[in-house]
Symmetry: C5
Subunit: 101 residues, 5 copies
């Protein structure tokens, strides 16, 4: 998985039948230091993430391992909203601090 930031939404009415009803979010990949990169994915969101939140994205076949994405042509999935992460004992990001700041 990679850590990403939800930066936007994609709307597509004309699509394969089995993609109906799925939310498509733009997610920018972040470094372990919480810095943005140029890499992004359009990922199906099954956890209800909001713009600006840090999320975990699973790529490839594993993205189909949820009831909502099973048997669909989904290659990227937002599977979790990140509360916090630390690198070498240092807190890099905390959702609560972010919300409070």
């Amino acid at each position: 998985m990679f850590i990403g930031e939800v930066i936007g939404t994609v709307v597509a009415t004309r699509k394969t039948d089995n993609m109906q009803g799925l939310t498509l979010r733009l997610v920018r990949r972040l470094t372990t230091d919480n810095m943005p990169t140029d890499v992004y994915a359009v990922a199906v969101d099954v956890v209800g993430a909001s713009e600006g939140e840090r999320v975990l994205v699973s790529a490839g076949s594993p993205a189909r391992q949820t009831p909502q994405t099973d048997a669909r042509p989904v290659d990227a999935l937002i599977l979790a909203i990140v509360d916090n992460w630390q690198v070498q004992q240092r807190l890099v990001y905390s959702r609560l601090q972010e919300a409070g700041s």
Copy 2:
């Protein structure tokens, strides 16, 4: 998935039996700001996208999760035609505006 622009078509008569009857489009990967990149894929189109349209492409095994691509050696699929997308509340691309301009 990634956002791409349909830029062309590939014709191949001699191919595996299970690739017969599939439309092969050249899709150039775009950035979230709607700018072209050097990355492309030859993708099977099951939604009838036209040249110049923005589409969503799914890569790898998930590309087989449609009735048309099931059990075929397809590793890239155009699964949707993009209507619009926004990044940080800003509309980056709208199909209607594009068509009207």
Copy 3:
């Protein structure tokens, strides 16, 4: 899939039992403008491509979706010989022109 040029052949006698009898070709990835890149794959050829021909290569699990590659550790497949492709209405490559020139 990506567009490639068949540039060579790999010979390997000592291999897993289920790789016996498969032709292994070196394929160089091309840009959409028919220019060579440094990226290559050793791909199983099931369509009988010759050196110099433009082919379509499927990568990853989808490469196993032919009778010849089913249940084998194949991660790249030549699935088609390209007749021609066009980018923005311009013919970039034509197999017939190439053969005639």
Copy 4:
């Protein structure tokens, strides 16, 4: 697989049901000379690795091939703690030496 160093932990309470109870570690990819790179993965740990340890990470669908990750949207797995590795007969890393130093 790639050789990585466990550099941190990711905490996420809100996630898909089938991700509950899994430990998520930040793993930085290393070169064969034991040097850090900018590439990282958030990987599920099923072997109990500690921060600073060298581990083997499997990516993609294969990451689901353990009892703990089966049928879950996991695309990266810590499957082993590295004792040592050598390159061209030279010992590059040894866990015991590291612990003793």
Copy 5:
């Protein structure tokens, strides 16, 4: 598949049960001109390759398509020892010449 050179071995005692008994080799990716690159994989060897030999490595899910790697979290497999390869009719590498030199 890619052409690689076996450059070393990784030892890991603590690992998932289903990884026991597999040989883990460090393989450096080569160019089609037999030049080393910075890309490497830790691959399971099922053909008994020796250090310095040129091998074919299959990546991702296809790596599980052997009796030894079936149902294991293996994402890279040495599936063949390369005898020779040629690029545009030129012999780039020959195992016999290498052994004799």
